[in-house]
Assembly symmetry: C2
Homo-oligomer: 523 residues x 2
């Protein structure tokens, strides 16, 4: 290794940009002659420090004999413009050999997976290496031991919520997603907290749906809290609903998602590890997982849901968490409103005793199961207990307490919430029966109208699947805060289909891995 | 999609760097809220043009409402600092769906592979997507049809050498590499050209070995020629030896190598396509491929060599090229000198009738086979013809003609070539027999001494495998143009081993795919 000056010293040039990457640039031709290729690791030694960085090359902008630093690395080793630095080959990262092992069909133990995740966190893996890892995990799969190892490594990559040992048990829930509306978390958290359980809930923002729980809760109060703020609130009220993204829990997960996103790669093992790492990082003892199944939901078949459920139960058991999985009807939206303010209205109404039946039923079923799972109520009594906590107003009182602790106005009414003034009403063109309310279509309409960024935008449903409708009857309304966006949403309206179906929990997967069909009872 | 200003216009900020990538940067938080994730494609519409670029995000350096351009994209659509540009979602590239198909175990037809390679050339694929493609090809493999399709697509990605239809037949050779010395190309090209065949040879520079053919030829003349210059030379002398990297032949290959390098991913199908695309792009009709096998060579087992040979023959046949593959003994260096000047000396001596026996023998065997393959000589007469062309001095005259056309001095003598003045002589410590001359060790020593950048550096072997040596006899000499580098090479000296073995062509794979053992005759 060396440059055209015949030695291994390079003159530093600094580009005033922070890239978030651990990269230095060399002149392409010189790099080839000096045996340095994009993605190679080099030791950079300055008078004030040293580090390992990745080589990239450029045909222009860098002369032979020069090395370009971005601010990230320049600041790390205090390099100044014009300073001479030494560059020597650093050899391949051990993580790269491990990625190769996985590609070649081998399995990785915990220490090996931790090595990869640690290198990822230390910016020692390039996108090319990380993408190769995700692709091989997608193609080769992860066995149970690997999934447990990945979950642990992801938990250890970030901070964890530390509650006093007296704050037990800690419960949590997760939904795999895709169903429009479906704000069960905002009912389950106050029901559980009002029942005396700790539920430090972190939620996500929307990626492709009309709104995530964090987007919706944000209508009422602050959701971007620090971990210590979250801890204080949970110690006061037992529950909270915050955005997970503003904390450093399971930090590696975001970096993995960044690589999975472009190809929509969602290897089951990585998905299981991602969900359970978030539960483990808040110290959960008991977890309920909701897997909606059906067209428009993220999971499309009960077979896939069953496989996923087995893995959730198996892996969480090895991590010391007791988990139950519910496979639920996911073909229709849950609740009337789709979009942050509209969903908040459903939630506030439900807490006050007059919310949408499906949202209330599903939330109480899931909360009831969690009450039984953690032993708070005897088997068979959870649902009734959850319903009672809701109907008695205790859940609402708890919700107001949480809103206030998160900096919102606890006395806020549904009618106070922001709602767009631009409306488009869609009516039935003939008599008939509603066959399907497509999740994708509803989410797309709501997003086109401005949701979730525009809190007051969305879709308000006036019917549900199975309803008989008369010509001219209002089916739904699109609401927007912008006339232009309303127009865009109206343009999308050609996508609709419409039959009947019962909304039920399709099945329940218990800890013993036994699949119990429960086709009774609407939810 | 939109920004915090509530619309989809962003204010341009321009970073004065050329990245070679088709990327624009947004503020991370705003991007998430606006539904843009790293790797997403967006349409960028300015007053003066529009393009599709890839999204990347940064926490710092970009404020909400801003978009950062690097020079590449800014110049393409003539965006000025402060200008407002529109950004709309561009949807996923069809190539990404094709990469997903390959990951999921599907096979791709020619049009699909061409779509991926075209997107690669148009900078429409991110490193993450390309790495996912290479990883899936590595794990899933490429079938014969896919390999043919990839080869065609790679050929079409660059320019091709167009000779008049009278300039036939065109012959070519390739060596999979790893053997130190082994400058057979520099003998085969003049032998073939002097025999009346067209041989427009592009060679590579060293990657990990002491020198590539291009590095060695460069001691004598210019090797960085334009395609039209190469064409002129070939039309005059029938042969040339130039660096392939200075032309735009099989252009996609370099981009694929950039991704394969970090993990040393060398999927057989991609390797076959890479080699054959280079042959096809110069219009070759007949090709001889040398696969040295053994410790230190790139291909380590005859089994692997056989598989590779079958693919070379099968795929090149479908591309209209007739190919023979020779599996050769690759455990020892070929020739005496290792390093550009030293290897040139071997070549010049061989052309003048007194070169190293193994280099002369191997070159004449391969040249003879190629003479028979293209029908220039009857079966069984090629070797003798090649030997005759060499011994008669015709090959040397042709070589001098080529050197002169490539801008060198045809009358150069071995003693004129630059050679380092710093020397370290290694002598036998006891009586014995040479067991092995390790290619890796020889290459590493020569590189440590400064080869290939320092033309006069390298290793000069005084023995070959099988030699009986006496204590105190000179085994080899390390030569360097720098005292410091000589010192580094001397430090590496602990790595040597030493027995006997015959150097023979291990086998030959003919067009019918029949493997013929030929353990007779030294080569």
């Amino acid at each position: 290794m060396g440059n055209t000056n015949g030695n291994d010293k390079y003159k530093a040039k600094i580009f005033d940009i922070r890239t978030g990457l651990n990269v230095v640039l060399f002149n392409e031709k010189e790099a080839v002659e000096s045996d340095m290729f994009p993605g190679d690791r080099v030791n950079i030694i300055s008078d004030h420090g040293s580090t390992v960085a990745m080589v990239d090359v450029t045909k222009t902008m860098v002369d032979p004999g020069e090395i370009v630093f971005f601010l990230d690395v320049a600041e790390e080793i205090h390099v100044k413009k014009g300073e001479k630095v030494r560059v020597t080959p650093a050899g391949r990262s051990p993580a790269v050999e491990l990625i190769k092992k996985k590609m070649d069909g081998g399995s990785l133990n915990y220490a090996e997976i931790k090595n990869i995740i640690d290198d990822l966190m230390d910016k020692k893996l390039s996108d090319v290496e990380l993408a190769s890892f995700i692709a091989s995990v997608y193609i080769r799969g992860l066995n149970s031991e690997e999934t447990v190892g990945l979950t642990k490594a992801v938990v250890e990559s970030g901070e964890t919520l530390q509650l006093p040992s007296s704050a037990k048990p800690i419960v949590d829930k997760h939904c795999t997603g895709g169903v429009a509306g479906n704000r069960t978390t905002m009912l389950i958290v106050p029901i559980m907290a009002a029942s005396g359980l700790y539920m430090p809930k972190t939620s996500s923002r929307s990626i492709t749906s009309a709104a995530g729980t964090a987007d919706t809760m944000e209508v009422l109060c602050d959701v971007e809290l620090r971990l210590d703020e979250m801890r204080d609130i949970v110690m006061k009220s037992k529950g909270c609903i915050v955005w997970g993204g503003s904390m450093n829990l399971a930090a590696a997960d975001d970096k993995l998602i960044r690589i999975r996103h472009p190809l929509s790669l969602d290897p089951t093992g990585v998905m299981v590890a991602s969900v359970l790492a978030k539960k483990k990082s808040v110290g959960a003892d008991y977890v309920t997982i909701d897997i909606p199944v059906g067209r428009g939901a993220k999971i499309q078949s009960t077979q896939h849901a069953n496989e996923l459920a087995k893995q959730f139960i198996n892996v969480s058991g090895k991590l010391g968490m007791k988990t139950e999985v519910f496979i639920t009807y996911g073909r229709d939206p849950v609740g009337k409103g789709i979009g942050p303010s509209l969903e908040c209205m459903d939630v506030l109404k439900a807490l006050q005793g007059n919310g949408p039946g499906d949202l209330v039923e599903k939330s109480c079923r899931l909360a009831g199961a969690l009450l039984e799972l953690c032993g708070k109520t005897p088997k068979g009594k959870g649902y009734a207990s959850a319903v009672n906590t809701l109907k008695s107003g205790k859940a609402y009182e708890k919700f107001k307490e949480i809103i206030e602790l998160q900096g919102g106005n606890p006395e806020v009414k549904a009618s106070d919430l922001p709602l767009g003034k631009y409306r488009h009403v869609v009516k039935a063109e003939k008599d008939g029966r509603i066959h399907l309310i497509d999740n994708h279509a509803v989410n797309r309409l709501a997003r086109a109208a401005g949701s979730p960024k525009s809190k007051g935008a969305g879709v308000l449903l006036n019917i549900e699947t199975g309803d008989k409708v008369k010509k001219g009857q209002v089916l739904f309304e699109i609401i927007s805060e912008s006339e232009a966006k309303l127009g865009q949403a109206v343009k999308l309206l050609d996508k609709y289909e419409t039959a009947e179906f019962e909304k039920v929990i399709l099945g329940k997967m218990g800890e013993a891995g036994v699949f119990q069909w429960k086709p009774k009872g609407t939810c």
